[in-house]
C-alpha cells in the first residue's frame, strides 16, 4: 500500500507541476489526473463506509474497504479541503449544520425570485401601451387562457402570467391534455414528460380546475425543483471545494441572466435538480439512486441521455478503471436509455409514432446530427441580417465555450465530460437560438465562475452585470418578447 501511495504522490506532484508550469494540456497529465481523481473518489466512498461501520458496527465491513484509506492522496481538485481534521466523508457533507441551507440557498433563492418577480410585474405596468405580441396568450380574470388583446393585462394573475410565456404553453398543454402530434407541424411531443407529470401531481392538491391552477402548479414544481437543485449543487461542490466557493456557485447560478427560466413553466429546473442530484449520489457511491435520477433527467430534457457518459466515467474513476472492481450496480446506468425507450414506446402507444420526438423537433428546423452543425449558425450569423438575439446567442455560446474548455481542463473529468457533451449537444441543432437558456444546466461552468469569484473585483463585476442582464431579460420575457 505504501509504495503505491508514494508513487501516486509523486505522480500527482509531477502532473500538477507540469500542468502549472507549462500552462498546456497534456494527455499523460490527464491520464494521471484521472487515476488520481479515481483514488480521491474512492477515498470519499471508503470514508463514508468507515463512517457507516463506526455507526452500525463492523459486521457490514466489506473486504474492499478493509484497508485503511487515510493514506490516499487528495484530489488536485480538492482545493482548500473543507475539513482539515480528516473527518469522514459524510461528516464533510452534512456536518456543517443546517444553517447553510437557509443562509446560502434559501435566502439567495428567495431574494432573486422576489426581485425577478418584481421586475417582471414592473415591466407589465411600465409598458402597458406596448401592443401584445401576435399569438400571445395570458390568463384572464376567469383563470382561463385567452388571446392577449390588444395589450397585456396588468391586473389578471400578473405573477403567474409573467412566468408562463412561450414554451410554457407546450408544457401546460401536455399536463392538461396529454400529448398531441400533428406530422409536419410543431407539436408538444417535442417536449419531455417528467415536468408535465410533476405538474399533474401538484395540480391534484391545487383547488382550482382553471388554467391558472395549472400554471400555478408549474411554477410550484419549477421553484421547488430549483431549491432542491441548489441544495444538491452546494452539497456536490462541497465534496471538492471550500464552502464559500460552493455557495458562490449557487449565487452565480441564481443571478445568471436567464435564471428566471428556473422559475418559469419550463423544465430547466427539474433537469438541473435531477442532474446535479445524480452526480451527487454518483460521487457518494449510491449508484442505483444516481441511475434513477439520471433516468429522471432523461425524461425531463433531451440532453439527459448524455448523462450516461459522464456517470460511466465517474463510475470507472471510482473503480480506478479496474474491471474486477465493477459491480452489478453499474447496471443502474442502464436506467438512462431505458427511460428514453419507455417514453418512446409510450409515444408510439399514445400518438402512434415511435419517433414523434424527432419528427416534432424537425418542425422547429432542428436538425440533429452532423459535426458541421455548430458551424451552420456561425456561417449564417456572418452572412445574414441579424438581430439583438443573435448577438446575445453568440455571446453566450462564446462565453460558454471558454468555460467548458476550462471545466474540462480544471475540474473533475466527469464534470468536464458532462460540460463538453452538453455543450456539443446544444450546439448541434443548426441554430443557437435558445443558447442563453440551454447553457443554464451546464453547472460545471458555474464552478469555474465561482473559482474566479475569489477575486473580489470579478465577484462584484459578475453579480452586477449578470443581475442587470437578468432584469432586462426578465422584462422582455414578461412582455412576451423573445429571450431564449
Amino acid at each position: 500500500m505504501a509504495p503505491r501511495s508514494a508513487g501516486a504522490r509523486k505522480n500527482t506532484s509531477c502532473t500538477s507541476g507540469c500542468y502549472m508550469a507549462s500552462g498546456r494540456f497534456h494527455f499523460h497529465s490527464l491520464t494521471a489526473r484521472i487515476l488520481t481523481e479515481s483514488r480521491a473518489a474512492r477515498t470519499i466512498v471508503a470514508n463514508q463506509m468507515s463512517a457507516s461501520v463506526r455507526r452500525f458496527g463492523s459486521n457490514c465491513l466489506s473486504p474492499m474497504h478493509d484497508s485503511p484509506t487515510t493514506t490516499e492522496i487528495p484530489s488536485p481538485a480538492a482545493e482548500s479541503a473543507p475539513d482539515p481534521h480528516n473527518r469522514s466523508g459524510r461528516a464533510r457533507l452534512t456536518g456543517f449544520g443546517r444553517s447553510w441551507m437557509v443562509r446560502d440557498v434559501l435566502l439567495p433563492f428567495l431574494a432573486t425570485r422576489l426581485m425577478l418577480s418584481f421586475v417582471g410585474w414592473l415591466a407589465l405596468l411600465s409598458f402597458q401601451n406596448l401592443p401584445a405580441n401576435p399569438g400571445s396568450w395570458e390568463l384572464k380574470p376567469s383563470g382561463e387562457i385567452a388571446v392577449a388583446t390588444p395589450y397585456l393585462s396588468t391586473t389578471s394573475y400578473p405573477l403567474l402570467n409573467i412566468y408562463s410565456r412561450w414554451d410554457g404553453g407546450w408544457y401546460h398543454s401536455i399536463a392538461k391534455n396529454g400529448y398531441r402530434f400533428v406530422p409536419g407541424k410543431q407539436s408538444n411531443t417535442a417536449f419531455f414528460p417528467l415536468y408535465p407529470m410533476l405538474m399533474r401531481v401538484v395540480h391534484t392538491i391545487i383547488p382550482s380546475d382553471t388554467d391558472a391552477g395549472w400554471v400555478l402548479a408549474g411554477c410550484i414544481v419549477s421553484n421547488c425543483a430549483l431549491f432542491i437543485a441548489l441544495c444538491y449543487l452546494l452539497l456536490l461542490l462541497r465534496i471538492d471545494l471550500d464552502h464559500e466557493t460552493a455557495a458562490r456557485a449557487v449565487l452565480y447560478l441564481l443571478v445568471f441572466p436567464t435564471a428566471f427560466f428556473f422559475s418559469a413553466v419550463y423544465s430547466e429546473s427539474v433537469f438541473l435538480a435531477t442532474t446535479v442530484a445524480a452526480f451527487y449520489y454518483a460521487r457518494t457511491g449510491k449508484w442505483w439512486i444516481a441511475g434513477a435520477l439520471a433516468g429522471a433527467a432523461t425524461l425531463s430534457r433531451s440532453p439527459g441521455i448524455l448523462l450516461g457518459a459522464p456517470l460511466l466515467l465517474e463510475y470507472l474513476l471510482q473503480r480506478r478503471f479496474q474491471w474486477r472492481e465493477i459491480r452489478p450496480d453499474i447496471l443502474s446506468l442502464g436506467i438512462i436509455p431505458a427511460s428514453l425507450a419507455a417514453h418512446m414506446l409510450y409515444l408510439r402507444w399514445s400518438v402512434g409514432d415511435l419517433m414523434a420526438i424527432q419528427d416534432a423537433q424537425a418542425a422547429w428546423g432542428a436538425e440533429w446530427g452532423t459535426f458541421s452543425s455548430p458551424w451552420t449558425p456561425v456561417i449564417r450569423f456572418a452572412r445574414e441580417p441579424f438581430m439583438f438575439n443573435d448577438v446575445m446567442n453568440f455571446a453566450f455560446a462564446g462565453a460558454m465555450l471558454v468555460l467548458v474548455i476550462l471545466a474540462v481542463l480544471r475540474l473533475r473529468p466527469s464534470y468536464g465530460l458532462y460540460a463538453i457533451t452538453g455543450f456539443w449537444f446544444i450546439t448541434s441543432w443548426s441554430t443557437f437560438e435558445s443558447m442563453p437558456r440551454y447553457v443554464l444546466v451546464i453547472f460545471p461552468a458555474f464552478v469555474i465562475l465561482a473559482k474566479w469569484g475569489r477575486n473580489p473585483m470579478f465577484d462584484r463585476a459578475y453579480v452586477v452585470l449578470a443581475s442587470g442582464l437578468a432584469a432586462v431579460f426578465m422584462m422582455r420575457f414578461a412582455l412576451w418578447r423573445w429571450v431564449a
Binding site: I145, V147, P150, S173, F386
Partner: protein
C-alpha cells in the same frame, strides 16, 4: 521591352477602368436593401423607410401612412433565419363609409399562403401568425394584402380621388411568435383566426 511595358500598363489601366464601370453599374442596379431586423417597426409615414420593402400596389407616401391599392399590395422582406413562427402586426385603417361599405375585407398572404383575414374599418392593430412551414427555411418573406372590395373615394361620393383604396397602412412589425393554434387548438385558436 519598353514598348511592351507601356502596352502592359495601358492594358492594366483599361482593365481597371472597365472594372470600375462594372462595379458602378452593379451598384446602380443593385436591388434596394430589404433586410429586416425582427422586432423593428416599419413606419409607412413620411418619416419611415417603408419604400425599401414595398412592391407593387402602393400609393405615394403620405404624412403618417401609405395607402395600399386594390386588388393587392405587396411587401418583400428578407428576414433572419428562424425556426419559430413569425408574428405580424400591422396598424391599418380601412377605406369605408357607412352604410355602403362598413369595412374592408383583407386577406394577408405570406409566401402565397393566406394566414389571416381581417375586417378593417377604423385604425387599429391587426395581427397574424405565420407558421414556420410557410417560411420553409426561406429568408425571403413576401407579404400580400388582398382586397375584395377596394373602392375609390369618388365612387363612394367622398371626394374626387379615383384611386381604388384598400387600407391605409401606418406601421408594421414582425416578431417571433407562437403558433397558438398548435398549442391550444380550441377555443383560443378560433379567436386568433378571427384577428383583432
Amino acid at each position: 521591352m519598353a514598348l511592351g511595358s507601356v502596352n502592359a500598363s495601358s492594358t492594366i489601366r483599361r482593365l481597371i477602368v472597365c472594372a470600375a464601370f462594372f462595379l458602378a453599374s452593379c451598384a446602380k442596379e443593385r436591388a434596394p436593401d430589404n433586410r429586416y431586423t425582427l422586432e423593428s417597426i416599419i413606419n409607412f409615414g413620411a418619416k419611415g423607410d417603408s419604400e425599401r420593402f414595398r412592391g407593387e400596389g402602393w400609393s405615394h407616401t403620405e404624412t403618417a401612412f401609405t395607402w395600399a391599392l386594390g386588388p393587392r399590395a405587396r411587401l418583400q422582406l428578407k428576414v433572419p433565419w428562424n425556426n419559430r413562427p413569425l408574428g405580424v402586426r400591422m396598424r391599418l385603417g380601412g377605406m369605408h363609409k357607412l352604410p355602403e361599405l362598413p369595412f374592408q375585407v383583407v386577406d394577408l398572404a405570406a409566401n402565397d399562403t393566406v394566414v389571416a383575414t381581417w375586417q378593417v374599418s377604423r385604425t387599429t392593430d391587426f395581427t397574424a401568425v405565420i407558421p414556420p412551414d410557410v417560411l420553409a427555411k426561406k429568408r425571403s418573406l413576401n407579404l400580400e394584402l388582398r382586397f375584395q372590395n377596394a373602392t375609390s373615394p369618388q365612387a363612394l361620393g367622398l371626394n374626387a380621388d379615383t384611386r381604388p383604396l384598400g387600407v391605409s397602412c401606418f406601421e408594421m412589425q414582425i416578431t417571433k411568435a407562437v403558433a397558438i393554434g398548435d398549442i391550444w387548438p380550441q377555443p383560443v385558436a378560433r379567436e386568433v383566426a378571427q384577428g383583432r
